[in-house]
Amino acid sequence: MAVTVRLPGTLRDAVGGETKIQASGETLADVFADIDRRHPGFRARVLDDRGSIRSYVNVYVGDTDARGSGGLATAVPDGSEVMVIPAMAGGR
């Protein structure tokens, strides 16, 4: 499955300066692994030591918050958009 992954500016440095990249995979875990293969260290920025999505990162597949729909096992339909968002923005 080919998907578009949109990233915040704060993760741009982890993927070579882009905020929108293409990736592939059946699930979110696959997609992150695919990105990590091309950009080593990406997964560690988004996932914690136990391999879960960091508490301060939200991941959406389309409009669905992945945390409430299976986490990293969330299916990623072909052509969908994945958004990685800082859960809390700096500066109130």
Partner: protein, 278 residues
């Protein structure tokens, strides 16, 4: 203000927490919001105008509350997909929201507010550049801290977001010999709401590094871990930034003697829908 008897046990310095969650709007931002609106009332004719600002949460709640009390419409630019509590509280006070791309964070909200501010119907209070923001802390937070410690305060530890708290309190307290400790998140991607990683963010115009004596960083995991300790060991339900401030203050009180106060900007209730408490 309360002493942290368990977390602060065995340290060289005394460790205290100033709980800003007891302000009417539930956060430290009530101070800046009130001062900014009163300043706008004095300088401008607000008849027919809408107060505008960019905020990822607490300032929005505070401005909405002050606007309701003072009779001004309020519009807020806020990143989409923030915790639902914020949006509902702001709406309850009658303010309207413009949601910005969540991928752009608070900086995206700032840029949206700047664009809207070109319309003369708006009065853009701009908490990041408004001198009334730090003035609120110079005239209230700083003197309160001095009074509540009976003049014994030696160190104030506070996070930097707009920087209003650090800048204003510094102006009030440094002349009395108090050392100011400014704390930032340790990475650009972080979960300490309200704090800015200055190296990668739009720099607030009111920020002046020279007004702090000591600059420290705290990671999100450490901030959240300390917020949980505050709840379980001290009975204080804090947000992530409160945990971060106490974690930094703990380091200061471990190293130095004196009366060390951490400023806890808000309470934990506003984060109940986030993974922080899962």
């Amino acid at each position: 203000m309360v002493p942290l008897r368990r977390i602060g046990a065995g340290l060289r310095g005394e460790l205290w927490a100033k709980l800003e969650s007891f302000n009417p709007g539930g956060s430290v931002k009530d101070r800046a919001a009130l001062w900014m609106v009163l300043d706008a009332e004095q300088r401008l004719d607000l008849e027919g105008k809408t107060i505008l600002d960019a905020t990822s949460g607490n300032t929005g709640v505070a401005l909405a509350l002050v606007g309701a009390v003072r009779g001004h419409p309020v519009e807020l630019c806020m990143p989409d997909k923030l915790s639902v509590e914020r949006k509902r509280i702001v709406a309850a006070f009658g303010a309207t929201l413009t949601l910005t791309d969540p991928l752009d964070g608070s900086d995206g909200a700032i840029l949206a507010a700047r664009e809207k501010a070109k319309d003369p119907r708006y009065v853009y209070v701009d908490q990041y550049a408004n001198p009334a923001n730090p003035l609120a802390h110079e005239e209230t937070t700083g003197p309160e801290l001095w009074e509540q410690t009976g003049g014994r305060l030696t160190h104030l530890v506070a996070g930097v977001g707009t920087s209003g708290t650090v800048v204003g309190a510094s102006r009030a307290l440094r002349p009395k010999g108090v050392r100011i400790v400014a704390v930032q998140p340790d990475a650009a991607l972080h979960g300490i709401e309200g704090w800015k990683h200055m190296a990668t963010a739009i720099r607030p115009l009111i920020w002046d590094e020279a007004l702090a004596d000591d600059h420290r960083t705290i990671g999100t995991d450490a901030a959240i871990a300390m917020a949980k300790r505050l709840a379980r060991e001290e009975g204080i339900l804090s947000g992530p930034s409160g945990g971060g401030a106490v974690a930094a203050a703990l380091g200061v009180a471990r190293e130095q003697e004196g009366v060390v106060v951490a400023l806890l900007a808000d309470g934990g209730e506003r984060y109940l829908s986030t993974p922080m408490w899962e």
